[in-house]
Symmetry: C2
Subunit: 261 residues, 2 copies
């Protein structure tokens, strides 16, 4: 099977145009098949403020009402996605941007939660691996915006980490998939305040041990639980590390690798 | 050769959600391969106003400065494009939205004009018929936003009529192309004030005659000149008519057909 990188970048890279450009240059130079999933950054929040749209929070969670959905569709699927694609084209990387509605690439349903309405938030049901592989086989890098649809005409705001994970899982039937979460830290840290305390490798048994000894920063646990779930679903390897170190992450020279025993 | 419809819809349809929905339903029911090209509508102008971005005009022409480009990228390639795609999906039409940067589908250059800087406006150089036909052959309807790129990382605002025409020309090598301009009038009218005075068919010789006798409404001349240019470049037929009559337009029962002698 061919290797496929599914790489998720967070808002801190999106918000820094120099860092983003440098990351996209590194991404372009990866010779294997590749998919980029991007989050939102601060632009959507800023745009909402400028348009006088109030951010709605419920129990500390952001609610995607109709106006917020409109903004994230414009900013994520429009501005950010198309500028990333144009930038990749300038580095001779033929890229194509998609939302989950495009080609029915990611089908979702509006989140159902007892006693809580998240608004237009989608939970993923299916990834169209046939369309994705057709594009990859034409040597096109796919850039996903974190917007899905429900097949009934409704766009839905969807967590970018989850999208990356669901794509990685679905594509594992056809490719040898490595899922990379590129963020602001150098990897999973033993000491949250010390960026040099990266754990180079975590296997399931060691993760149990780290959790029991409470050596994992609480904020990392959902990310790691998701990573191990992806591993169980056929993803070959999950790497968590710094966006600036993309090349080293792919070479196993930086970041934390989550692998099977 | 298979038949391919390239259909351009104007802003007046985009701005009317009921008309748009009805049009998209009709579009979905066309059994042949199909491409939709959409313009902008009033949303971009409204959004610019709300954000306090001044529209710049030079000799009566709108200039696309950096802020305006940002807005049209968000509104055209994001909000309008993705909502059209999601709506088509709800009518069981598998659609996929593209800007010209996506898959390098439409390459352009920044307009060069002596004594006049239009800003980030693109004139089309090439259409990637290989990518477009790959998607069409998977029975995907393609929805184009009027945004292109210059291969150097710059997105460019591009006239939707021109995009439709350039796509129709490029695809004529592979398909039997009919180019439809769906707008607010019933076709090319002999009397601009009488919507029942539609000319059913115009061939080049008759067009010359109409122009000489000044029987063509001046505003229609650039559209018709473009239509005849497309005809010369291999497009089989150009139909100009009312968006609400899409089915009848494809059946030759409504609108004006521009065909060779």
């Amino acid at each position: 099977m061919d290797k496929l990188y599914v790489i998720k970048i967070g808002g801190n890279i999106i918000d820094d145009s120099m860092k983003l450009k440098s990351f996209l240059k590194d991404f372009s130079s990866l010779n294997d098949k590749k998919i980029l999933v991007h989050g939102g950054g601060k632009l959507a929040t800023r745009m909402a403020e400028e348009l006088g749209i109030e951010q709605k929070l419920l129990d500390g969670r952001r609610i995607t009402d109709a106006e917020t959905l409109k903004i994230v569709t414009m900013v994520y699927a429009g501005y950010i996605n198309k500028n990333i694609v144009a930038s990749l084209q300038s580095f001779d990387c033929n890229a194509l941007g998609l939302s989950g509605a495009d080609g029915d690439s990611i089908l979702a349903h509006k989140r159902v939660h007892p006693g809580m309405d998240y608004g237009f938030v989608g939970d993923v049901d299916a990834v169209n691996s046939d369309l994705i592989s057709t594009l990859l086989e034409k040597n096109i890098a796919i850039v996903f915006a974190p917007i899905t649809h429900n097949q009934q005409g409704q766009l839905l705001n969807t967590n970018a980490d989850t999208i990356a994970q669901e794509i990685a899982k679905a594509m594992s039937e056809l490719y040898d998939v490595e899922l990379i979460y590129a963020f602001e830290k150098s990897g999973v840290l033993l000491n949250a305040d010390d960026d040099s305390s990266v754990i180079p490798e975590i296997k399931p048994s060691y993760y149990q041990e780290l959790k029991e000894k409470k050596k994992i920063f609480a904020g990392m646990i959902p990310k790691l639980d998701n990573a191990f779930a992806a591993l169980k679903s056929g993803v070959n390897k999950i790497i968590i590390g710094k966006a600036e170190d993309l090349k080293q992450l792919t070479e196993g020279k930086s970041g934390t690798s989550i692998i099977n025993e």
